[in-house]
């Protein structure tokens, strides 16, 4: 049986003795899965990501990433297994040219110049930043800066990818580009775990949704099952995911992608 890309075994964590944040968390993400983590602000989602990367150590329990124990493995080893996109893109930027920024992680990992160059070119192409390779990262607009962190992730080339609010700064074309990359990454067999407030985006991509509340996973199921919860959104008729809700309201077969909806609607109009 293949090793889980990410596994939490009864993990607990607290910032101080008085207020535990996460208690007895157990989950497993298989390779090729795309899982969403949702929950209120302050529930501990970003903290869970940092634990998964080995940036924080659990108070008890074990966290496994691609066979490594995060409590025992060192940062360079973990960086080859898991890559994290932070909520605030600017925190990571440390070079003065886009191309050097993207090549930072492969350089640290010790790859040769040819391999680094290949990875950087590929990453810039996928994210649409090929013509910005020589620019200063802070000259990019917010959406492009987030694309830059994505490019850095692509160059890091890990089996597990953690995305914290990845779509925040994107406009429609950038979102399309990002979603194309996500589909391709899944086809490549990578495991993706992401946090997002955009529940329609969650429904479009997540095969499974985990709801974190009160320090533990309270729900683990499909988007339709998990997202309709008062903690996450107002419980109205057209609550997210909005496309299935629209299908239900119009008595059409439930679908989750826009192409399928267009076909059903065309048939409906006759």
């Amino acid at each position: 049986m293949a090793e889980a890309a990410l596994s939490f075994a009864s993990v607990s964590f607290a910032w101080d003795a008085v207020h535990p944040l996460l208690e007895g968390i157990s989950l497993a993400i298989e390779p090729n899965e795309c899982v969403a983590l949702v929950g209120r602000n302050g529930a501990g989602k970003s903290t869970l990501f940092k634990l998964a990367c080995g940036l924080l150590k659990p108070a008890c329990g074990r966290i496994g990433v691609g066979g490594l124990d995060t409590a025992k493995a060192r940062a360079p080893q973990l960086a080859r297994q898991v890559a994290l996109m932070f909520q605030e893109a600017e925190r990571q930027i440390c070079q003065d040219r886009v191309a050097t920024e993207v090549g930072f992680a492969p350089r640290l990992a010790g790859f040769d110049a040819g391999e680094i160059s290949r990875r950087v070119t590929h990453a810039l192409e996928v994210t649409g930043l090929s013509d910005r390779g020589g620019s200063h990262p802070l000259d990019l607009n917010a959406g492009e800066r987030r694309m830059l962190t994505l490019a850095s992730l692509i160059a890091q080339d890990t089996a597990l990818i953690l995305l914290d609010e990845p779509t925040r700064d994107f406009d429609a074309p950038q979102l399309e580009c990002f979603e194309a990359w996500m589909s391709a990454a899944r086809r490549d067999g990578r495991a993706i775990l992401f946090i997002s407030h955009d529940l329609d985006f969650v429904a479009r991509h997540a095969s499974r949704v985990l709801h974190l509340s009160g320090g533990s996973i309270v729900a683990n199921g499909t988007a339709d099952e998990v997202l309709r919860h008062p903690d996450l959104q107002e419980m109205v008729a057209m609550a997210a995911p909005t496309l299935p809700a629209l299908c239900r309201a119009l008595d059409l077969p439930i679908c989750t992608d826009l192409d399928a909806f267009e076909q059903f609607w065309r048939k409906c109009l006759g």
């Binding site: 602000n41 406009d171 429609a172 979102l175 407030h197 997210a240 109009l269």
Partner: protein, 281 residues
């Protein structure tokens, strides 16, 4: 009488080859809510800073055309003096922090303190602003320890406490959950009934359409459309985000699967009704 008036206004940032903004012709009256939408890099933030009086001291640029507040040109105004009337909440919530407050309440009170208001009035205003932004429980927190969403609420409170005539929100809800953003926007809309003008700079159509009576669409820094949300719908969604239900409507309209005379939906809640109107006539 318009508070803000722009006629064929354009702005070129120092060092830029082309105009950053051009062809701007719009006005904003008291109590109105206008939304400026556009994709990444189309000049929304530049326009927001221009309206806040940042040109030329905080943003080096040359301007042409008419861009006035109460018939005085925006360029060359002292930002500090203009701050009593125009408040800008920037996209990055930490950018608005002063760096000289030990807690959130002091951070929010900093502005009214600078205006020399009496102590009692400052305290009342601060409490009201924090309450409106659902940030009252943050008042004893250190500003450096705030999360993104918390910092955004504090930044909006710090702008509201100045009781501006014009409030500019540059993607100020980006870090809030949709429900929280909706609630906050509803409260800000309620404030416009007291005469405050509100301008939202957004990449999310749903949010913009919910509150605004008119939408200005920017493409590559140029004003393309200035009209009701329904009129701007089709073109805007090519550039900005919207929920799946709205996107389905846009695609249906593009594919000719719509009925003339039926307006596009402006949020998820009204989508089923519009589709049914198309179906049944």
């Amino acid at each position: 009488m318009a508070l803000i008036r722009c006629e064929h206004a354009s702005l070129t940032r120092n060092g830029a080859l082309h105009a950053t903004l051009s062809g701007l012709s719009f006005d904003i009256t008291a109590g109105e809510t206008l939304a400026v939408v556009g994709g990444s890099g189309t000049g929304k933030t530049t326009l927001a800073c221009w309206l806040a009086g940042w040109v030329p001291h905080a943003m080096q640029a040359t301007v042409s055309g008419v861009a006035c507040i109460d018939d005085t040109p925006l360029a060359g105004q002292s930002v500090a003096r203009l701050a009593e009337r125009v408040q800008l909440v920037q996209a990055s919530p930490y950018a608005g922090l002063t760096g000289c407050a030990f807690n959130v309440a002091a951070e929010v009170a900093f502005g009214p303190e600078n205006l020399g208001l009496p102590e009692a009035e400052i305290r009342t205003r601060v409490a009201a602003a924090l309450e409106l932004c659902e940030a009252s429980d943050l008042s004893a927190r250190r500003p450096a320890s705030l999360s993104g969403g918390e910092a955004q609420r504090v930044a909006i409170a710090a702008a509201l406490v100045m009781q501006p005539q014009l409030l500019l929100l540059d993607e100020a809800f980006s870090r809030l959950a949709p429900a929280a953003a909706g609630r906050l926007l509803a409260r800000l809309s309620a404030l416009t009934r007291n005469g405050m003008a509100l301008v939202l700079f957004e990449k999310q159509f749903d949010l913009a359409a919910r509150a605004a009576s008119r939408i200005l669409l920017l493409e590559d820094g140029q004003q393309q459309l200035l009209d009701t949300p329904a009129a701007v719908f089709d073109r805007a969604l090519d550039h900005v985000r919207a929920c799946d239900a709205l996107r389905a409507a846009q695609r249906a309209r593009r594919a000719g699967l719509w009925r003339d005379g039926v307006l596009p939906p402006l949020d998820a809640a009204t989508a089923p009704a519009r589709f049914l109107d198309v179906l049944h006539g």
